[in-house]
């Protein structure tokens, strides 16, 4: 019996146990188990650690056995072993320079003919978005490694793979790279790349025309959905997506999702969807650090056969600290400028063209408290009236404090002024709010990520 069959049986067993046990017990003890072997009368189950093994043997053996017997009636007993899920064959050690380009094998000639079976893979994007030209740095290593794993064993290693990070850090790049790579290694696979907007529109159209919607989506081998956050709040679409997701996941088809925030932080996302998104691997992509930015500039310049001196690259990377899209834009402008004027590129030219830091960061003076409040409200799915108003529900208080924090930190305006812009609160309330968020930031990663994303949104206009 292949591991795939075992996994299928075990998923059914877990499904039953999830219903019969308490949620916390299931999550702690049973969720991360696997079926290793299925003999005539005996089954071997892998437990993630010795505590879980002990607990399964002594407390849950009966329940697990009877759930398994529903699938395989001949089984009489279960033995438990300690084994963690992923023990891939160990790679060779290789020390990396702190900024490195991935060492992908030489690009082979594309088998371009065999593309009929796939839907919507624009070929012109392939040269632009592949693993070879994806620059790996500390901020995106996890996402990159996970993406490579997915292409090696679609549907097996991390399913679903959920990527999240602010705008312009390479989420879409990775998704395209995954599609192209799988298309190359599995020419017969049906691969579908859509944005959640496409998904919604297709769904609406299908309802309108009375067509069968399921057919398109549930017959693919790989489904990639971009910008998943837009699905938030659309209940019917979410329900349809839920069924699509289940159908594909149960058939071991690879699903890759990406969004600008982690599943937890997408407001008005149904819990059952959220928990499903967290089943597989959730990997974040952070803004590139200095070295990665230099490496990106250099790679982009060399792909245009443009000679970019080291000092200019580091100067640019220091000036532009936001996202990759902006870096690329600045580089394009510089190259155009230098070619038009036939001047060599120097740091002075950079300052002249890019404007020496002044325009690199969005100017704070253009931001007003009003904008911050509007954006914060929109980000948390509230109205500005909620934030300014007197209500003190938790769902409103936290976003309100976030708004206070951002006004204080980013706009640097006084406590009384923040107070008056938030509907005439007391300035000590504001001080408390800012302090509260500051404290949260140091101890809570998801909060700090949320605020980073929001800041990004506000600063990028």
């Amino acid at each position: 019996m292949s591991q795939k069959d075992l996994d299928r049986i075990w998923r059914a067993v877990l499904g039953e146990l999830e219903v019969s046990m308490s949620g916390a017990n299931f999550k702690t003890w049973v969720k991360n188990t696997h079926l290793l072997e299925l003999g005539d009368t005996q089954a071997v189950v892998a437990a993630p650690n010795i505590f879980a093994r002990d607990r399964l043997e002594h407390n849950y053996n009966g329940e697990i056995l009877s759930a398994l017997q529903k699938q395989e009636p001949s089984i009489e007993s279960i033995t438990y072993q300690i084994k963690t899920a992923s023990t891939a064959a160990e790679e060779d050690i290789r020390l990396d320079r702190p900024t490195e380009k991935p060492t992908t094998p030489q690009k082979t000639k594309q088998s371009a003919n065999n593309r009929q079976s796939q839907i919507s893979l624009p070929k012109n994007l392939e040269a632009k978005y592949n693993f070879t030209n994806f620059i790996v740095g500390s901020g995106n290593r996890l996402a990159f490694t996970a993406a490579r794993q997915v292409t090696e064993n679609p549907g097996e290693s991390y399913n679903p793979l959920f990527l999240y990070g602010p705008a312009g850090v390479g989420k879409t790049h990775l998704m395209w790279a995954i599609s192209f790579e799988i298309a190359r290694s599995h020419p017969d696979f049906k691969i579908l790349y859509v944005t959640s907007e496409d998904f919604t529109n297709n769904f609406i159209n299908a309802i309108r025309k009375g067509e069968k919607f399921a057919d398109t989506y549930r017959t693919v081998d790989v489904l990639l959905v971009d910008d998943l956050q837009f699905i938030a709040g659309k209940e019917k679409t979410q329900e349809e997506f839920f069924h699509t997701f289940n159908a594909l996941h149960q058939a071991n088809k690879q699903i890759v999702l990406c969004s600008d925030r982690p599943p937890k932080a997408i407001a008005t996302l149904e819990d059952r969807l959220r928990s499903r998104f967290e089943w597989g691997m959730v990997a974040d992509i952070q803004l590139p650090d200095f070295e990665t930015r230099v490496a990106i500039l250099q790679s982009k310049a060399s792909s245009r056969q443009f000679d970019l001196p080291d000092n200019v690259a580091s100067h640019l990377a220091e000036l532009l600290q936001t996202n990759i899209r902006e870096l690329e834009g600045a580089l394009t402008r510089l190259i155009a400028h230098c070619q038009a004027n036939a001047t060599p590129i120097t740091t002075e030219i950079v300052d002249q063209v890019i404007g020496g830091g002044a325009t690199a960061r969005p100017s704070r003076t253009t931001l007003s408290p009003k904008i911050v409040i509007e954006k914060t409200a929109a980000f948390y799915d509230l109205t500005t009236a909620d934030l300014i108003g007197p209500r003190r529900d938790k769902e409103i208080v936290v976003p309100r404090q976030v708004a206070m924090y951002i006004m204080r930190e980013e706009l640097g305006i006084s406590f009384p002024r923040i107070a008056s812009s938030l509907g005439g609160r007391d300035h000590t309330t504001i001080m408390h709010g800012v302090r509260k968020i500051n404290a949260e930031l140091t101890k809570n990663d998801s909060v700090s990520h949320e605020i980073k994303t929001l800041k990004q949104k506000i600063l990028n206009g």
Binding site: G23, A24, N25, K27, T28, N49, I50, F51, A52, D54, R55, I82, K83, T84, S86, T87, E90, E91, D92, I93, R94, L95, D96, R97, P98, T99, R141, L142, T145, A146, D289, F290, E291, D310, N311, S314, H315, E318, T347, G357
Partner: protein, 368 residues
């Protein structure tokens, strides 16, 4: 359960044990510590399912029994009590705590719900002085990878080889190896990867402890017995990469410098390298080692140290933070830096006598 115990003793135990207890676990009992009175001893037990610590506290046991109570609450409570004799009394699901002029009751969870701490039947047993182990661990522990995308690198590998125990860790940018002599020669070689979190807890506990540490390991678990404290941890599954081959055995350029002097010079250079991912440049010349750093918008810095150069002149760019990390754990007055061109790793070794190979550290250069 009915036990009387001195506040300081219980407080000490709780502060060690509660460190491993998670407070965000979905299962309530995992945020608890187990108090267990048995055979005239009181045990305080905590676990996060990766590490478990069993701490024996000197106490007068009147009746046996056990109960688990929230770790944070109990720790904070006991810490804030005056130094006095405490009377602990567990009845049903409540823990009653009483001193001369203080009384409180904490709701607990029955001890049956609390995970059993595994009993280990070791296939490998080792023993060495705590001080030796803690020095070696603190020299390698920080080099382990922080993220867990490659699980085997998120721990410290313990390799038993005859009369030696080799400890090594790498995050793929740097690698540290430390060798500890064993009191007894081991017949069989063994390798196990201990999670970095466990190593950090060990360092913390060992630095408060004098005496010998007894280590026992199976294929999946390892335990450390340190007097009253027993720590059991899972091991990381997998094979640690064969790192020996990337440690250079010969350097083209070598310089021996004063550890403290180099440390302060690099701290200064680091000030100018914050914008450039801590990049500092080391230039090896006849008679001196120069260290420089610059950032376009900040300024620049240059300093030099006297040294005797062996081999050809050369230069290399390194991350100042990595260099500082090593220099702070090296205990000798001088260190040797060895490089072979600007693309190969830099080898840092402490200089004791003529031949000293008990600690080796390599750092990958930055592209410059």
């Amino acid at each position: 359960m009915k036990v009387s115990v001195i506040q300081e003793n219980l407080s000490k135990a709780l502060n060690v044990v509660s460190r491993v207890v998670g407070n965000r676990s979905s299962l309530a009992v995992l945020s608890n510590v187990l108090l267990k009175a048995n055979l005239g001893r009181l045990e305080v037990i905590g676990t996060n399912l990766e590490i478990a610590i069993v701490y024996q506290v000197g106490a007068k046991v009147e009746t046996d029994g056990s109960l688990s109570v929230p770790a944070r609450l109990l720790t904070e409570l006991i810490n804030s009590l005056p130094s006095d004799k405490l009377l602990l009394n567990a009845a049903a699901q409540n823990l009653h705590i009483k001193t001369t002029n203080f009384e409180s009751t904490i709701n607990g969870i029955a001890s049956e719900e609390f995970p059993n701490v595994p009993v280990i039947k070791p296939t490998t047993s080792l023993s060495f002085p705590a001080a030796t182990l803690v020095t070696a661990l603190s020299q390698v522990g920080f080099a382990a990878a922080v993220d867990e995308s490659r699980p085997v690198l998120s721990g410290v590998v313990f390799s038993v080889r005859g009369k030696e125990l080799l400890l090594a860790a790498t995050d793929s940018y740097r690698l540290a190896e430390s060798v500890v002599a064993l009191t007894q020669e081991q017949k069989a070689d063994a390798d196990f990867i201990v999670p970095a979190k466990t190593v950090n807890e060990l360092i913390r506990i060992l630095s408060q402890y004098e005496g010998d540490v007894e280590v026992g390991a199976t294929e999946t678990e390892i335990e450390f017995n340190m007097g009253d404290i027993r720590l059991v941890s899972r091991l990381i599954e997998g094979k640690f990469p064969d790192y020996k081959k990337i440690i250079p055995d010969k350097n083209e350029t070598e310089a021996v410098v004063d550890t403290a002097e180099l440390l302060s010079t690099i701290k200064v250079a680091g000030l100018f390298a914050r914008e450039t991912a801590n990049t500092i440049k080391l230039t090896f010349e006849a008679g001196k080692l120069s260290i420089s750093s610059s950032a376009a918008q900040v300024g620049e810095n240059q300093s030099s140290l006297e040294t005797k150069l062996v081999g050809d002149p050369g230069e290399i760019s390194l991350n100042a933070k990595y260099l500082l990390d090593v220099l702070t754990v090296v205990k000798t007055p001088t260190v040797k830096l060895g490089i072979s061109g600007k693309l190969n790793p830099c080898l840092v070794t402490p200089v004791k006598g003529e031949q000293d190979t008990s600690y080796r550290h390599i750092i990958m250069p930055l592209r410059s």
